[in-house]
């Protein structure tokens, strides 16, 4: 009898143990069971303010021949000839779903606010451009609502735009914030010589000394921690990730010091140095991150289209370069074994530009004027492109009429990475819809 009772109790105990919910680091019960369409998302903000007229409407011919299908002859002067065989094959449009009439419907048509909308999935009101956004960014949502919760090494925000864009790596929203933020990098600071000149000659400690440092620092931190208010405006890595990232940045600075970042052909960018602009450098740095870390979520922005405020031809030319950079990025993903066939790329301008010119007549193409973005017609018209492996993303599908808006991107990324159902309802209801028709 006793033996039977023992076995019965053991069985009940085992069953109870299996049945007990697990409290995960994210604070949730049970592991997320969300279906993942792919394990990696790269979101490229094709930003700086891009008009549909010059992009998907091709009113001056096809300025984006690697992104958009079509042989329409370019009618503008002053566009660089990027003729190389490096990027061949089908256009990105043919490898995905294109929303030609996407919209940025609400909020100021300023760069920061529109970036914040794209990266939080929520329209902003009067946004404070010197502060972190109020709503959780896609990075925080991704890191907090995945199980187990994701380390910062998996989430990157690459932007060569100066200053305020650094704030977009996490929000001020209670319960989110820096603890769930992304690794933000402004590439040119580390690759244009400044980084190497200032940080390129570090003291190096052997492992034995590193242990001593950890011991003393750990002692100090343990004494201070009761008073330590969170992570103090910074994301945090564990020690192992910190070393990996430090080594990566040091390698980039060394490479820059040896001229590697001023020679595009050395990076498999078949271009003369003179054609190589800031957007391409930012994308190149994103590619290095992809090679090194294969992040699950990477957001990179381009912004040189904003020269349209004063120079229409340079705007159109930069658009042409952005097209090349976007295709190069996709090619690089396909050349990265861990991400090939398991990555979905989304591209979208943050906002458009006015239909009407601002009065600054273009010197190269005198029938054109420079363009602002002041809430007027055109400035809310954008496009979105979802590119991915066949069988996952619908290929060759174009939506020609108005469909989708910029607040749809965050829930779509959450859906791809399988955590859209984990986002709290009060946040989710303010976001847009999943671009479900892009997927099988």
């Amino acid at each position: 009898m006793k033996r039977r009772k023992f076995i019965k109790n053991l069985g009940l105990g085992t069953a109870a143990t299996i049945g007990v919910p697990y409290l995960l680091p994210s604070g949730r019960l049970f592991a997320a069971t969300g279906y993942r369409r792919a394990n990696h998302v790269v979101f490229c903000l094709f930003a700086g303010g891009v008009r549909n007229l010059e992009s998907v409407h091709k009113s001056h011919g096809n300025l984006m021949p690697r992104t958009l299908k079509g042989e329409e002859t370019r009618t503008l002067l002053g566009i660089d000839s990027i003729n190389n065989d490096e990027i061949n094959g089908p256009t990105l449009q043919e490898q995905g779903t294109l929303y030609k009439e996407f919209r940025f419907k609400q909020g100021s048509t300023g760069h920061y606010g529109a970036h914040a909308t794209a990266m939080t999935g929520v329209y902003t009101g009067n946004v404070n451009i010197n502060a972190n956004p109020e709503n959780p960014t896609i990075f925080e949502l991704y890191r907090k609502h995945n199980s187990p919760s994701m380390s910062a090494k998996n989430a990157w925000w690459v932007s060569d735009s100066e200053g305020l864009y650094a704030n977009l790596n996490y929000s001020s929203h209670p319960g989110y914030g820096a603890n769930y933020g992304a690794n933000y990098v402004r590439p040119s600071s580390f690759t244009d010589g400044l980084g190497h000149d200032s940080l390129g000659d570090p003291k190096e400690y052997d492992p034995e000394v590193v242990e001593k440092i950890k011991s003393i620092r750990g002692f100090c931190d343990a004494n201070f921690s009761p008073q330590y208010s969170g992570v103090a405006n910074s994301i945090v890595h564990d020690e192992a990730d910190k070393i990996e990232i430090e080594n990566f940045i040091n390698e980039c600075m060394d490479e820059a010091n040896m001229g590697g970042f001023s020679n595009p052909s050395a990076w498999n960018w078949d271009l003369p140095s003179s054609s190589f602009n800031g957007d391409m450098k930012a994308v190149h740095f994103a590619e290095k991150i992809i090679t090194e870390f294969q992040p699950e979520l990477l957001v990179v922005n381009m912004h040189t289209a904003d020269i349209a405020h004063s120079d229409f031809t340079k705007y159109a030319n930069n658009l042409h370069k952005m097209d090349y950079a976007l295709a190069h990025l996709w090619n690089h993903i396909q050349e990265t074994p861990d991400m090939k066939n398991d990555t979905i790329l989304i591209a979208m301008p943050e906002h458009g530009r006015n239909i009407e010119g601002n009065g600054i007549v273009d010197t190269v193409n005198p029938d054109q004027q420079a363009l602002d973005h002041t809430h007027k017609a055109g400035s809310r018209e954008i496009f979105a492109l979802v590119v991915g492996p066949s069988g996952k993303v619908v290929h060759g599908q174009d939506f020609l009429v108005e469909k989708g808006e910029s607040i749809d991107i965050v829930p779509t990324i959450a859906n791809i990475l399988g955590f859209d159902n984990e986002i709290p309802g009060y946040l989710r209801q303010r976001m847009g819809e999943v671009l479900a028709e892009s997927f099988y």
Binding site: Y184, R186, F190, G195, K203, K212, C220, Y228, S234
Partner: protein, 159 residues
Amino acid sequence: MKKVIFLYLILILFSCKKEKQVFQVHNVNIEQNSANKNHLKSTTEFLSIAYFHIFETAIPTPRLSDLSVLHSSFGDKKLIEQMTIKNFLNDDGIQISSIDRSSIITKTTFVRETYKKLYNRIPEEYELWFILNMIEKDADLTAEIIYFSLMTADEYRYY
């Protein structure tokens, strides 16, 4: 009888008393060592103060400007601060006194002075003991390693 009572009283009043032992302690301030540090240093403050602590001179404006750009260009502030201090410490011009290991007094002085300089406070007894113990046990532990450890700890980010 009266004589006996008188003698008894005399004995009670003038006999030896057992000496009471009185234990006294020094007044110790038991305030939390970092209780008043709840202000995060700004980037400029951090860089200027760290430079001064290592070089004992004000940071040149162009260098401050360059380092500020780098700090704002990277998300993990602790990591970039650590990288900055590593670069400072590799400079020939550093002004960090080495540990005088000639006596316990000189070693104690080093620890006290280091805490005062970097953390703007005197170390608690257990902090003093911990660092002293490490110095005593490890002849290879340099002042520079102690500086790096303390300057990359959380408390150094606050004032």
